[in-house]
């Protein structure tokens, strides 16, 4: 008999009628207000972590997201037990998040343009990447390849999921294999690194976007566990391994506040479009025609290609206190 998992959509880990203390500036923030600022502190700009579903809602054209493969479910290939058993951790995470695993992928439009999007959820066992997360990233990439539409991955992960052992390690290969094919086919890939993006996720797809965007102050690093475990006793400078650190070290193209992230990606999609046939693309002057996608027919949900905006203007209210949208941007007409 099937056990019906008590999936419930995670509304809000912060009840709307209560207050949250900002870890950035210690201000008490009214949750309802915080929700309106996309969970960014209006006083200091601290970016709170958000769920995959919230992230998708903030990024895509209203109602355009069609989730794929929400039925993929993790198993316990090693029979792994630490202080808890892995299945227990899975069930607890599923109950807490309403997700079957730490990633959500699907097709959507942004500014009217179809995209393939995969978003990780740190709330699910630290956004760790096991077989299901790797599979979803891979399928998102393969859909982008098949449709020749941009791939957008929003990372938020502690790295590979230890409980699935080397199968988790192999997800680095699986995802990089697909991303290499995406690249070879001249299909755009925008990687968004949010707090935190560490370990094997940073050391695979997240670091190799055509454009790497990071949210301000996001913790991004590879050698998480061992540094924190004291293997290396170096004094680390302030701001070490934060988004701004990676910007100055050349691994992040742009640091973009959450309020500007959607517009930023839409602007990039105005430039990064797969040419009609991979690697060919005869005369490239002119205005860069993009082939009419077959995606609409497949998903049946896309809005018109002319729609460069969506409604949801309420979302744009209450963004006071945001500082400059993106670093190093020179002009933007």
């Amino acid at each position: 008999m099937p056990v019906r998992l008590p999936f419930r959509p995670r509304r809000d880990t912060y009840p709307p009628d209560l207050w949250t203390k900002c870890p950035g500036c210690s201000e008490m923030l009214f949750n309802k207000q915080l929700e309106k600022t996309l969970r960014v502190c209006p006083h200091c700009g601290h970016h709170f972590r958000i769920s995959a579903k919230s992230r998708i809602e903030q990024l895509v054209d209203n109602g355009s997201f069609v989730e794929r493969d929400d039925d993929l479910q993790p198993v316990d290939p090693l029979g792994f037990v630490d202080l808890k058993s892995y299945p227990d951790r899975l069930v607890a995470a599923q109950l807490a998040t309403g997700l079957r695993d730490a990633a959500v992928w699907g097709l959507a439009t942004m500014g009217g343009k179809p995209v393939s999007m995969c978003v990780m959820d740190f709330g699910f066992i630290g956004g760790s990447m096991g077989a299901v997360v790797g599979e979803k990233v891979a399928r998102a990439g393969e859909a982008a390849l098949a449709e020749r539409i941009p791939l957008i991955i929003v990372s938020s992960s502690g790295g590979a999921r230890m409980q699935e052992g080397t199968y988790s390690l192999m997800q680095l290969v699986k995802t990089m294999g697909v991303v290499e094919r995406v690249r070879a086919a001249c299909v755009p890939f925008i990687s968004v690194l949010t707090d935190p993006t560490t370990g094997g996720v940073f050391a695979s797809f997240a670091v190799v976007g055509d454009v790497n965007i990071a949210e301000p102050n996001a913790l991004i690093k590879f050698a998480g566990d061992r540094v924190s475990a004291g293997t290396i006793g170096d004094e680390l400078p302030a701001g070490y391994a934060r988004a701004e650190f990676w910007f100055s070290h050349g691994f992040v193209d742009r640091i973009v506040t959450r309020a500007h992230l959607r517009d930023e990606i839409i602007a990039l999609l105005g430039f990064l479009a797969a040419p009609p046939v991979a690697g060919v693309g005869e005369p490239v002057g002119g205005t860069g025609s993009r082939p009419r996608s077959l995606l609409s027919a497949l998903t049946g949900v896309l809005v018109g290609e002319n729609g460069d905006s969506r409604n949801g203007d309420s979302r744009n209210g209450g963004r006071g206190g945001e500082t400059n949208g993106s670093r190093g941007e020179a002009t933007r007409g």
């Binding site: 019906r4 998992l5 479910q73 077989a131 299901v132 680095l172 094997g200 190799v208």
Partner: protein, 328 residues
Amino acid sequence: MVDRILNRSHAAEAQADNVTAAVWAHVQQARNLKRPHTLELLKAMADEFIELHGDRLFGDDSAIVAGLARIAGRRLVVIGFQKGQDTEENIRRNFGLPHPEGYRKAMRVMDLAERYAMPVLTFVDVQGAFPGAAAEERGIAEAIAKSVGLMTRLRTPIVVVITGEGGSGGALGLAVGDVVLALENSIYSVISPEGCATILWRSAEQSQLAAVAMKVTAGEQHELGIVDAVIPEPGEGAHTDPAEAARLISEAVIEQLDALGRIPLDELVEARFQRYRAYGPFTVADRSAAPPERIGIADRLRGLLAGRANMPAFPGTRRGGSSGHEEE
């Protein structure tokens, strides 16, 4: 063996302790400093070796060696991790912990392998990439990602041999291949047992339990389909007879190269991609099992855990995916 640790009858507990001790002895064996590393193996296996140096970007990482080797009459590119034989060399080689330059050198030499039609052989024995700030800020993550990515598409056969400790992403950066072999006493894991214990048990002292739980031994990795074949070690381990160990490795590698050399490159690369594409079992939930009404979480959890018959696969799901190699 994890189950045994859970069922804490006295007999089972003793048995679990035995298992744990055996696994830990295996880990220690894999880490034995006297085990032959890449250069020692090459000395025994290769008729000729010309080491190539430098990433053409920043430096030459002595914790990863790479070059052109002739083994049993074959031209090969060989890349591997290299620890020191003594303290001085260990310091010079950063105790075998690579910086990004090591992987970038590896990629440069892999490119030569592809262009001049030489198969690639890698020797994997590394605790992990260097975890310090110097490696981090120069992009150890990027270097590993790119090396892994390159190996998924490199148009020449790749044979990987795990010779000691296959530690995490640092190892994986050189461990993507058409065939993955492992020495009998080697280990392979997604994170070091110490790291795993620190995070999951909140104590590095539980490393032994972590090693057991992660099934790190070559034999277990073979059962999981991550390792294709286990190469036996002579005597009390490879370090007791490095020449014989090298002979056994050479024999196994040449056998694989012969087989791989008969496969057209397009097929080879596609098969390699599909191998890794398939790794990691998962299931597909029964969609008819719709979410129930929302009730108290604690109650539901308790009920669920009581009613759970047997993981891995959740009841009410059909099995999908595969454990990779087993599917082939």
